[in-house]
């Protein structure tokens, strides 16, 4: 029994890791720009397909492909900011709808380039850690370590650097930030790069574990929304805590009951939070 619990815990930590990366990116984009990026799941998918292309097809080393996924999806983010969100800056609903259009374009591009079938990727890293009978593959360990590293890096960036500081100011009051001389164009561009690249790197790192399809973004975006609502919209730390909470609940319920029940429990969790504390566990402040 302890074996199963330990194993399930490791599985949950793994799920929490990549979901945190995705959810935090989404929150960052929402916080700084005020738009909900519906294409976020497809950015995750684009990261996974970067690995399919570079690692599976062109035989580049896995970590190079992951780095390329991070950079490529980050640039996709900048493209979105420049072509969609900037012209629609005063129109958050328009930004949301434009991001749905972008989602369809990314999906179509993936279908045209790689087909609709699942891409199977040979495991780049063999081996596993065994711990009291539970197993953690190096591949999953890599995802966990990368998530901890990247999220810690992001935290330090937001707290310690001038740009990070400006980003927090923008998330709290964009106009007031502009009145301090902070360039909204620069900050939103950087936020979009970081937010998108976190989704991209999550997709790239998990690609060998999930068998990418062009439609893999769907389930991810739904989960990310649940996490954001539970954590408190616009709250970065809340997103991480909620990702961990959600991953544990979902993984344990999946293991001991089944996946459908787990999805339902996840939604019930979200509804409970909405009823009891509509601003999320961390009580994000209302946006002006």
């Amino acid at each position: 029994m302890t074996e199963i619990i330990l194993q399930t815990t490791l599985n949950a930590v793994y799920a929490a890791s990549y979901m945190s990366l995705i959810a935090v990116g989404l929150v960052l984009i929402f916080g700084v720009m005020g738009v909900i990026n519906f294409a976020h799941g497809e950015l995750y998918m684009a990261g996974a397909y970067t690995v399919v292309a570079l690692y599976s097809h062109l035989n580049f080393p896995f970590l190079i492909a992951v780095a390329a996924g991070l950079a490529f999806v980050g640039l996709l983010g900048i493209l979105m900011e420049y072509s969609l969100f900037r012209p629609l800056r005063d129109n958050p609903l328009g930004g949301l709808i434009a991001s749905i259009g972008f989602l369809l374009m990314l999906q179509t591009a993936a279908v045209l380039g790689f087909g609709v079938r699942m891409a199977h990727i040979k495991p780049p890293i063999q081996g596993k850690i065994e711990l009291l009978g539970a197993v953690l593959t190096y591949q999953r360990f890599l995802v966990i370590a990368a998530a901890i590293l990247l999220l810690t890096g992001l935290y330090l960036f937001l707290r310690k650097t001038k740009i990070g500081w400006a980003m927090r100011a923008c998330a709290q009051d964009r106009e007031a930030a502009a009145l301090q001389g902070i360039s909204l164009n620069q900050i939103t561009r950087i936020a979009m790069f970081i937010g998108a690249s976190l989704a991209g790197v999550a997709g790239a790192l998990t690609a060998p574990l999930v068998s990418p399809t062009p439609y893999m973004g769907h389930s991810v975006i739904v989960t990310a929304f649940i996490i954001i609502i539970v954590g408190g919209i616009g709250h970065l730390e809340g997103a991480v805590v909620a990702a961990v909470l959600y991953a544990f609940v979902h993984t344990f319920v999946t293991t001991f009951y089944d996946g459908v029940v787990a999805d339902i429990v996840g939604l019930v969790l979200m509804l409970l939070v909405l009823v009891i504390k509509p601003t999320g566990l961390f009580g994000a402040r209302e946006r002006a």
Partner: protein, 235 residues
């Protein structure tokens, strides 16, 4: 003139909020803009700071046209604004709020000195420097907002209703601070609904009524003007 607003118009969704407004601000002293709710006072300051686009006219600062610049570039030219409602960053500390004001400055040592200067001027803020800004009282928040603008080392300071929602004794303190700022060589544009306060502080005044300047002149003269007395001074 340091700042010249020439014949500007601003439209919100096709509706004119400013209709050919012209205002001049000299290199020293206080110019005030008074007017009722919705007259267009905030819109005027927002246009200067680049937050709201003008549909015609020109804005000149220190010999250069600034009406097409984005807000951060206007700050870079030397115009700081304390916006209506203070708009401090609630989830930054008092000290962090003040430091954002110096965002564009590169003279790190002078920034530290100016920060100390702000804490001398506002001892209440010094005690609370590590506190979240949202936990401050209204008067303290206004001081943070003014301190933050001063941290930019501006050449012109725009103040939008600094007295709003404050107790009379706090208003007196704000008035003292404004005088001090001007005495230190930074000219001020003061937008106020509290006409008594504004005319008492300012050298020159503009009266804005539904998007047009209806009157302007030395504050002293406007203070005695019958229309101003009736409409804004409540006598």
């Amino acid at each position: 003139m340091l700042l010249e607003i020439r014949d500007i118009q601003v439209h919100y969704n096709g509706v004119a909020a400013l209709k050919r407004v012209s205002i001049e601000v000299p290199v020293d002293g206080i110019v005030t803009i008074i007017g009722a709710n919705g007259a267009g006072k905030s819109t005027t300051l927002r246009a200067v700071s680049g937050l709201t686009a003008i549909s015609s006219g020109e804005i000149w600062f220190d010999g250069a046209r600034i009406d097409t610049l984005p807000p951060d570039k206007v700050v870079a030219r030397g115009i700081a604004q304390v916006p209506e409602g203070r708009r401090i960053f609630p989830d930054l500390t008092v000290e962090e709020n003040l430091r954002t004001g110096a965002y564009l400055r590169t003279d790190a040592a002078a920034v530290e000195r100016d920060l100390d200067g702000i804490f001398v001027r506002f001892p209440r803020l010094k005690e609370r420097r590590r506190q979240w800004a949202k936990t401050l009282s209204g008067g303290e928040q206004q001081m943070v907002a003014i301190g933050r603008a001063l941290m930019a080392k501006p050449r012109l300071l725009l103040l939008d209703e600094p007295s709003m929602g404050l107790a009379p004794v706090v208003i007196l303190e704000i008035a003292r601070i404004i005088k001090e700022i001007v005495a230190n060589g930074v000219p001020v544009v003061l937008v106020e609904q509290n006409a008594e306060l504004a005319l008492g502080l300012a050298n020159y005044a503009y009266v804005l009524e539904t998007g047009t300047v209806s009157l302007h002149g030395a504050s002293r003269d406007l203070h005695e003007n019958e229309h101003v007395k009736r409409a804004y001074l409540g006598v």
